[in-house]
Amino acid sequence: AAARDNVQVAGSSTVLPYASIVAEAFGENFDFPTPVVESGGSSAGLKRFCEGVGENTIDIANASRAIRDSEIEACAANGVTDIIEVRIGYDGIVFASQIDGPEFTAFEPSDWFNALAAELPVDGEIVANPNMTWADANADLPAVEIAAFIPGTKHGTREVFEEKVLLQGCEDTGAMEAFIASGMSEDDAEGACMAVRTDGKSVDIDGDYTETLARIDTNPNGLGVFGLAFYENNTDKLKVATMGGVEPTTETIASGDYPVSRPLFFYIKKAHIGVIPGLKEFAEFFVANEIAGPSGPLANYGLVSDPELADTQAKIANEETMSGAM
């Protein structure tokens, strides 16, 4: 087998756009070949990442969530012990409706919970969600049929949506306590908070944001969940909803005013540094200020840049591995 001379990256399709922007610029500015960035999901990326060390395994795994302990264990079992975790920034998650559709300017997480939960406590009793319009959930909202297009359970975004919106809303409305009061354990109550109704008011999207967009295009009342970058590229078709009164922008998200966002990561196999040409250079380039900084191309594209970028840069320079893996 001939020696591999390009950096091989795989993983989350949310990170893919950023990684590809960096890879492209890296290819243009360095003598190393352009890294190959595959999509395929965080799960598949990390799985291949953890398959072992060696040339026929990938060097970097992109992930839209932090690596799990069980994955770190699996990695270690295959000899991938030293992993450098790099947080590249944050991905804002926004809610948007058709440009010609109703305006949603008063969302709170509780509204989402009231609109989408499978079951709600009503007058102390747990009943199947009776809300048919957004106004039912919150009188300040337009009285249009609930038609939410939320990411399917395969998406990392769904997890964030469940935790930061539904669960939050559940706690805010006091439903959580009601659930516990009705005799559920805490875990079950959490599960109930995050259970989404299945009567067609909420539709899971297993595809990507383009699919959500297409569905909203054909449904005037539709409300979809998007990544900030996707929304910013489609402002001509989408109207963004505020959350807690804050409109999502890179700034509001970076400042933490807009609550729904998640960090994006990539993971470097330390053992490959020094063996795969350009690996370390690529990683350093990725988080360099001119790339990942607030005015770099990544931020331009919609990444919420990480305020602690300098730490990350230092981490790569020193090849600091994750403490958990040691």
């Binding site: 087998a1 001939a2 591999r4 390009n6 091989q8 795989a10 399709s13 893919l16 756009p17 990684a19 590809s20 922007i21 890879a23 492209e24 610029a25 290819g27 243009e28 500015n29 070949p33 352009t34 190959v36 960035v37 595959e38 999509s39 395929g40 598949a44 291949r48 398959e51 026929n56 990938i58 990507d208 944001y209 383009t210 990544g227 970058a229 996707f230 910013e232 590229n233 489609n234 402002t235 001509d236 078709k237 001119e290 191309p297 331009n300 594209y301 919609g302």
Partner: protein, 450 residues
Amino acid sequence: MTDATTQTAESGRRTSSLYTLDARTRRRNAAETRFKFYGMAAVGVGLVFLVILLATIIRSGIPAFTQTSFDLPVVLEAEALDPNGNRDPADVSKVSTFGYNPLIDQALERLVAEHGIETEMSGADLRKMVSSGAAAQIRDTVIADPDLIGETVTFRVLASSRVDGYMKGRVTREDLARDKNLDAAHLDIVDVLSEEGGLARAFNWAFITGSDASESRPEQAGIGVSMLGSLFMMLVVLLLALPIGVAASIYLEEFAPKNRWTDLIEVNISNLAAVPSIVFGILGLAVFIQLVGLPQSAPLVGGLVLTLMTLPTIIISTRASLKAVPPSIRDAALGVGASKTQAVFHHVLPLAMPGILTGTIIGLAQALGETAPLLLIGMVGFVASNYPEGIAEGFLSPNSAMPAQIYEWAKRADPAYYERAWGGIIVLLLFLMTMNIIAIILRRRFERRW
């Protein structure tokens, strides 16, 4: 038969004229007409859907074939590009693409001023009109010829996707109201430039020949390199799947003893056809990359995976058409002393050819359009590399494939990519038709009734 019945039968017949249809025949003819009509309708339905689909594809994809660009005179300032002043390529290349942006900004400011447009925008703002690939384009030119430094060179740089969209009518001023990528003010400049020259929309060869670009610059993305990827994969598929498929079918249909074992193989093959294509990707990853150690993202591996996926299609159709060859043909050949092999290769196979070719056409079409298995062997994503140098590189160096490229584009956020995805589908279909044309002609050659 009694006399009575004959009589009636006979007299009944005598009166019936050929010119008038009796009730039963009329009924049967009506059934016949209906049947024929169903047939026509079926073909019609197929063709109508084809037309609808093609119309949709072409309507959405055609804009991808033109592209707007600026003619931008750039002053290649020596201080910025070659601080040491020795024109050494090694030194020149130390200036990264970011270093070129100011030059573009200045050039744009000058351009705007030349056309007498008043604007409050800074150079960096103006730069939103041109592709972010412009810097790389200029840098590449400079590194290739450092002596240009210090001169003013006119570059044809791509317009950004929004400007391009505006020229194509996809983007309107209202659309830009909330868009942070471009403002209506930019469009005023574009209007003037396109009237007075300096901005032109031309056929987009780069789309057909180019390689993928990152999400931030759809205007630069092309399908050329991935077309090569597909080409190399199809070569592998054709060179392996067709002979292996035909050979396997011949063995099973003509030579293999008919027993449980061959039944097992037969069922197995039909079953392979039902295996979801992504499972072949899992297999390919495990066998070709992890076990054999072939490189990732390589068209060779893609081709091998697609071969395995296409095999059942070819085998099933080949077997069906081998079966349809009348045994008397085999008897005839064996009777003059041909061996079984000769009988098969000389007589049966040519007669089965139409079916084999159909299987190949359909199998290749399927293989050409398949993305899922490529996902797992690393051919989907951002695999924008350069053109492979030479045949071996073509098989082994990382590349994408047309459907994977299209699939990726269709997912990307910038609407300009959506247009490219459809454009890519047009190219894919043209590629498919070119690929199939030989098979179709051959098939017509072999078609005969006996």
